[in-house]
């Protein structure tokens, strides 16, 4: 079992979700994040005083998948989230020891 984590641009979420559904992924968990990196933040001005915001809003996706699907899912996410501009984000995968579906107690692939 793998956990795919993706940091993407917020406005790409719908595209990524659609692509994953098409691929057959049944669920995922989304949360808000802020990113530091090559992509620059912006500056606001309040009564003449500059206020620099050096993070950019990002979305974090977590998708549990079967080992065999991991690579393809990464591919799907990368393609759907790509704009080609700096700040598109990262996708990574880690190994999961066990997964349980809370409702039923099922584990492993059954739990997804």
């Amino acid at each position: 079992m793998k956990l795919i984590t993706a940091i993407i641009k917020p406005f790409k979420l719908d595209d990524v979700k659609a692509a994953l559904e098409t691929f057959g992924v049944k669920g995922m968990t989304v949360s808000e994040a802020s990113g530091f990196g090559r992509q620059k933040g912006h500056t606001e001005v309040y009564r003449g005083a500059e206020y620099k915001v050096d993070v950019v809003p990002k979305i974090r996706l977590e998708i549990l998948v079967d080992d065999e699907d991991a690579e393809e899912v990464i591919d799907v996410v990368v393609k759907a989230a790509q704009t080609g501009k700096i700040g598109d984000g990262k996708v990574w995968s880690t190994t999961v020891d066990t997964v349980v579906r809370v409702r039923t107690g099922e584990t492993g692939a059954e739990a997804l």
Partner: protein
């Protein structure tokens, strides 16, 4: 008769001020609920403005202020339905329509006040039905008793300058009745339910105070010394009550809170309402301190007695209203017509005040309880548990109050854009 343009200007301005109190109340109450039910709370106030206004024009004014066609001591008839015949009438220099407009705003706010007791859990449709029924069976008769020259409380000689009995004691009792009919919210009092937006509560308190100058000052129906006295007392009693509430909090809880001062302000406004033109400014200051302090304690009663008066309509409006009504009998000023105990007038006035209070209290509670029960048994007055837990705004109004989306200062909070929603036009359904 000739119109006094100055008095008319003041009464019209006052009517506008009192009308603003209901949106003010929507914020005072709405800020106190949790974010998942703020819209429903505000909606109960706004729909009161819509429905009570129509009732007032159609038959409300006639039943409350008409004397013919009804039972003079108890209620008026339908002679002046639709305000027919008032268009060009002028009484004491004031167009009858100005008076009717001013009074319309009182009916609106009174019914809206009740809604604080049933936060988070009332079926909206049933509330909409409740408004005209309650106004007709409870508000209009009591208004007739107190303000119509033929009304029995008017004739009794009890003093209620701007509506302590008609509006506040009445609303407070009705609130208690509905709180009992609807029952406790799921989780109350174990689960903590904190105000979701205290600045809104302060906004509401500010608008209420502002509007109340029309409520009390305008009740003189003229721009004169009486109005000026009522106005000034509405500054000082209110401030003193806010201060009184803070003192109790500081001593009891260790911290003076913004919710406390906002609550104290409203308690002071309630208490000074019947007494605004019957006390000296110093008397009003004392009344404020007393009302603020007592109400600060009274809001804890519900935990002891176990009724879920969610936003403390009883602790503030009922208790505050009673304090104000009785205080007139104790330290009202003889110079302003209150032969009170301390003014050497004996307990006669106090007795009358008490009688007016008890009558209003009993009538309002009993009739409202019956109305509530009947509505509960027929239409149902309470939403189902799932709606209450997931939020009444969504369940009853298909809306949620806020969507701060990705904006709360750019990247900082990292909130995402609305996640995958889909709009479909339904206007042609």
């Amino acid at each position: 008769m000739e119109i006094d343009s100055g008095n008319t200007a003041w009464v019209l301005a006052s009517a506008a001020l009192v009308l603003l109190m209901t949106p003010g109340l929507a914020f005072f109450y709405g800020g106190m609920t949790r974010a998942k039910s703020v819209l429903n709370m505000m909606m109960m106030s706004f729909v009161s403005m819509a429905v009570a206004g129509m009732v007032w024009v159609l038959w409300g004014y006639s039943v409350a202020f008409g004397s013919e066609g009804g039972i003079p001591a108890l209620f008026g008839g339908l002679d002046a339905w639709g305000l027919v015949g008032l268009e060009t009438a002028v009484t004491d220099g004031l167009p009858d329509l100005a008076f009717a407009a001013f009074q319309a705003t009182f009916a609106i706010i009174t019914v809206a006040l009740i809604s604080g007791a049933i936060a988070d859990r009332a079926k909206f449709l049933t509330w909409v039905v409740f408004i005209p029924v309650w106004l007709t069976l409870v508000y209009l008769p009591i208004a007739h008793w107190v303000w119509n020259a033929e009304g029995w409380i008017f004739k009794l000689g009890a003093i209620d300058f701007a509506g302590g009995t008609v509006v506040h004691i009445n609303a407070g009792c009705a609130a208690l009745a509905l709180a009992l009919v609807l029952g406790k919210r799921k989780g109350w009092p174990k689960e903590p339910m904190r105000p979701h937006n205290l600045p809104f509560v302060l906004l509401g308190a500010g608008l209420l105070w502002f509007g109340w100058f029309g409520f009390n000052g305008g009740s003189a129906l003229a721009a004169n010394e009486t109005a000026s006295l009522a106005f000034l007392n509405t500054i000082v009693a209110t401030g003193a009550a806010g201060f009184g509430w803070l003192i109790v909090e500081k001593l009891r809880d260790g911290a003076a809170t913004t919710l406390g001062i906002a609550s104290g302000i409203v308690a002071g406004l309630v208490a000074i309402t019947p007494a605004a033109a019957a006390m000296t400014p110093v008397g009003a200051l004392v009344l404020g301190l007393v009302a603020g302090a007592i109400c600060a304690v009274a809001v804890g009663l519900k935990y002891k007695l176990g009724y879920d008066d969610s936003l403390d309509v009883v602790g503030v409006h009922l208790v505050g209203g009673v304090i104000g009504a009785l205080a007139i009998g104790v330290w009202g000023s003889a110079a302003f017509g209150a032969d009170s105990l301390l003014a050497g007038g004996g307990i006669e006035l106090l007795g009358k005040q008490a009688l007016a209070v008890v009558a209003t209290l009993a009538y309002s509670f009993i009739v409202t309880f019956i109305i509530g029960k009947v509505l509960d048994l027929t239409l149902g007055f309470r939403v189902d548990e799932e709606a209450e837990v997931s939020g009444i705004d969504l369940a009853e109004h298909a809306e949620t109050a806020y969507d701060f989306g990705p904006s709360t200062s750019g990247g900082r909070s990292g909130a995402p854009a609305p996640v995958s929603a889909d709009s479909k036009v339904e206007a042609d359904a």
